[in-house]
């Protein structure tokens, strides 16, 4: 008897779920086109995840306000929100849900492992995924046809970061001979470092020390920084996420090593809007090579102002990438003149988005793996409590201070 009621409970739950699912899919029927966004809206990464979701939502609102998709009779966009909870299986089922509710393209997901899962869903469903943030090279090495990435990958950031550092030092008559490198453990930190080291060595810059630290249970960077500084490098380079990068900056300040600069590559902390305030003196004149919103661009300034009015928080680069991803999809819809996912994919493969909102080398175009060919990094520096763009010249908001007078 009890077993029957149990089965009934499950049947009821199934019905409830399918009912919910059904009500959601009605959206696409009345001329709206849904774009699915999968981000960590709960869990440890919920902060940045919601900002990214907001960025995507704002792009949808802006496009709708400007008349929707003209090629489709001004069809309006809607954003289907998915919560990956920061874990891969939720990311995957949310992606599946959004696709089954009629999403023509996906945006996401911030984390590399979740993105790996969602890109498999996208591939199998034939719905394109435009990655806003997720750095691992391996995601695009699977031979998938439906995955595109706007931001540079780990390897190219490492390479470009090394190039930019060498060029910056040259330009300021303080050529660089050696660096020590501190990076977080794992695929991200390792691939950025490997690419940086290769490029640096190729240009005669010696990597004296490679110091790694764990992503968890890391609450004091003093030893790591001291180890890096002990080799007496010209520059200390660091790759990691926000909290650990903050610890590194503080440790550098505490130890006061005799270096020309502290330089982040693909660093999740050094160019974050909150960093100057949180780090205080420790953050002063820290350099960071990273992909970044184009602060010199008027459109970007307008979007950022409105974002802060709307959501009460400054719009970080990750949010801008989500915004950009929606814009790219919208342009693909225009060019395809269809809301068929396959057509959107075709359009994406050949797209050329001029005037990207990020400080890139040129328009957004995807190579055969789906990587944006013109994605690159610029160098920023914290000056008087602000993140300033200092190199290359096309994007400068302020003159670089190099070597830094710490």
């Amino acid at each position: 008897m009890k077993k029957v009621s149990l089965a009934a409970a499950f049947a009821a739950s199934a019905l409830a779920l399918s009912a919910c699912g059904g009500s959601g899919s009605s959206g696409s029927a009345d001329g709206e086109i849904m774009i699915g966004a999968v981000h960590p809206l709960t869990g440890a990464l919920a902060g940045v995840g919601s900002l990214m979701n907001n960025g995507a939502q704002m792009a949808v609102d802006d496009i709708n306000a400007a008349g929707g998709i003209e090629a489709l009779d001004g069809a309006q966009l809607t954003l289907g929100e998915g919560d990956s909870k920061g874990v891969a299986d939720s990311g995957q089922s949310e992606a599946q849900r959004l696709i089954s509710e009629g999403a023509v393209a996906l945006v996401g997901t911030y984390q590399s492992d979740v993105t790996a899962n969602v890109s498999a869903v996208a591939e199998r469903s034939g719905v394109p995924l435009v990655i806003d943030v997720a750095v691992d090279d391996s995601i695009l090495e699977q031979g998938y046809q439906n995955t595109f990435r706007i931001q540079p990958n780990a390897t190219s950031m490492g390479t470009d970061g090394a190039k930019a550092l060498i060029a910056l030092a040259e330009a300021n008559d303080e050529p660089i001979e050696s660096v020590s490198y501190i990076h977080i453990e794992g695929a991200f930190g390792q691939s950025v470092f490997d690419a940086f080291a290769e490029e640096a060595e190729a240009n005669g810059v010696e990597v004296l020390e490679e110091v790694t630290y764990p992503g968890t249970n890391f609450t004091d960077a003093t030893t790591q920084v001291r180890e890096a500084a002990a080799a007496d490098p010209d520059v200390i380079v660091a790759t990691g996420y926000y909290p650990d990068s903050l610890l590194i900056a503080q440790a550098v300040e505490a130890l006061g090593p005799d270096v020309d600069a502290v330089y982040g590559v693909a660093n999740g902390g050094f160019d974050d809007g909150a960093f100057p305030g949180d780090a205080g003196q420790a953050g002063n004149q820290v350099l960071s090579a990273n992909y970044h919103y184009a602060a010199t661009d008027e459109r970007v300034q307008d979007i950022r102002t409105r974002f802060e009015e709307e959501y009460g928080k400054p719009m970080e680069t990750a949010s801008m990438l989500s915004y950009q991803a929606v814009v790219v999809i919208a342009q693909a819809l225009e060019e395809a003149g269809s809301d068929d996912p396959e057509a959107v994919r075709e359009a994406l493969a050949g797209i050329e988005v001029d005037d990207p909102l990020l400080a890139f080398d040129g328009p957004i175009t995807f190579d055969e793996t789906g990587q944006n060919e013109n994605a690159t990094v610029i160098v920023m520096q914290i000056q008087d409590g602000e993140v300033e763009q200092v190199f290359p010249e096309d994007f400068t908001t302020s003159e670089p201070v190099y070597p830094t007078n710490r």
Partner: protein
């Protein structure tokens, strides 16, 4: 010395046989009705569940599949911790072994997942047996046993993150095939086969649990759980039967891991060995009722879709709750509160509590 010392036959004394009529082979008290009823109920449940994927839409099926994975994990955990009385807080280790064995053999050597499942189950059983042997050898029990298993699972996680041949933190992607393949366990997205495979595994686990619980080894290990000293004094090799139970539990849990890799097409260290996986094994079993056949299943049916339900409601809230829309964290908070309440007011779990009420 004794007048009656010749009455017994040395070597094979049989004190009952000579004095009383033996119990007949067809003695009605020997009939085990509850076991056959349990088998019948299980068969019915599995048959009913088997129809589900034909009725569900793709997204609901995904939730249902996740629920099945929860159930498999919980059934595996329940063998060791519920029936065996060894509270494992490290079942992520065995799930992870299954997931990584599958991923590694598939990606690096093109081995069929079906074979990997067996290999993974074997490795998992061996690892679990070794860990349990060490813990039991050093007489760890209760919270200490739980913490030790937790520590071992953490060591597995850290080890994978440091091993190049397992790609450290990068994880494995399952290569996509162009068409369905039974041998590679890959089917069209949303195919009901993706539901039927874990359902078959779960059925194996449920029927296996009943068979095990009624077997000699299963009876022994429950006796050991209830009273280790008394069991040993009845000739039960305590360590041996505990380890047998652990091996079964770990081997079975690893099947969930292998299927996970196949279904989600990607596995990384956190997905496989993270402590959240261990929690996912424990929570459904405890909510449903540990040490019962149906408990883990009931618990999984509650826990699996629960967060999904809450998320659904919040996504499109009724007007009275509209202010909650877009608040991050609420769904997990409600989920957590429910977990606390169920443990608090139904300490034997939903199924265990209902069964007791039903009996009395």
């Amino acid at each position: 010395m004794s007048a009656t010392s010749t009455a017994g036959t040395p070597g094979t004394p049989d004190p009952g046989a000579t004095r009383r009529p033996s119990v007949g082979l067809d003695d009605p008290r020997l009939k085990d009705r509850s076991t056959s009823r349990t088998y019948a109920a299980l068969a019915l449940i599995v048959a009913l569940l088997a129809v589900l994927p034909l009725l569900l839409d793709e997204q609901t099926e995904a939730v249902a599949i996740r629920t099945l994975i929860f159930a498999i994990l919980a059934v595996g955990w329940n063998l060791m911790s519920g029936y065996g009385g060894m509270f494992s807080f490290g079942h992520a280790a065995f799930f992870g072994i299954g997931a990584y064995t599958d991923a590694y053999l598939l990606v690096e050597h093109g081995v069929s997942p079906w074979i990997s499942m067996l290999v993974g189950a074997t490795i998992s059983a061996a690892a679990g047996t070794l860990i349990a042997f060490l813990c039991l050898r050093y007489r760890l029990a209760g919270a200490y046993f739980a913490l030790a298993t937790f520590a071992f699972a953490q060591v597995f996680l850290l080890a994978v993150q440091n091993l190049d041949f397992l790609r450290r933190t990068e994880g494995f992607n399952v290569p996509l095939l162009l068409e369905d393949s039974w041998s590679m366990m890959q089917f069209e997205q949303g195919s009901p086969i993706y539901f039927w495979i874990p359902l078959a595994v779960l059925a194996l686990g449920l029927f296996g649990t009943v068979a095990f619980v009624n077997s000699r080894a299963g009876q022994y290990v429950q006796a050991v759980r209830d009273d280790e000293v008394a069991a040993a004094s009845l000739g039960i090799r305590v360590m041996r039967y505990r380890l047998v139970t652990v091996a079964l539990s770990c081997a079975f849990t690893s099947l969930a891991g292998a299927f996970y890799t196949q279904y989600y097409f990607f596995v990384g260290p956190e997905q496989a060995f993270g402590s959240g996986v261990s929690v996912n094994a424990i929570v459904p079993a405890v909510i449903g009722g540990i040490g019962t056949v149906f408990g883990p299943l009931v618990g999984a049916l509650v826990v699996g879709p629960l967060s999904e339900w809450i998320a659904q409601i919040l996504r499109d809230p009724p007007e009275s709750l509209a202010f909650l829309q877009g608040v991050t964290g609420l769904d997990v908070a409600i989920y957590a509160a429910l977990l606390v309440l169920i443990v608090l007011f139904m300490p034997k779990g939903i199924y265990g509590t209902l069964r007791d009420r039903f009996r009395s």
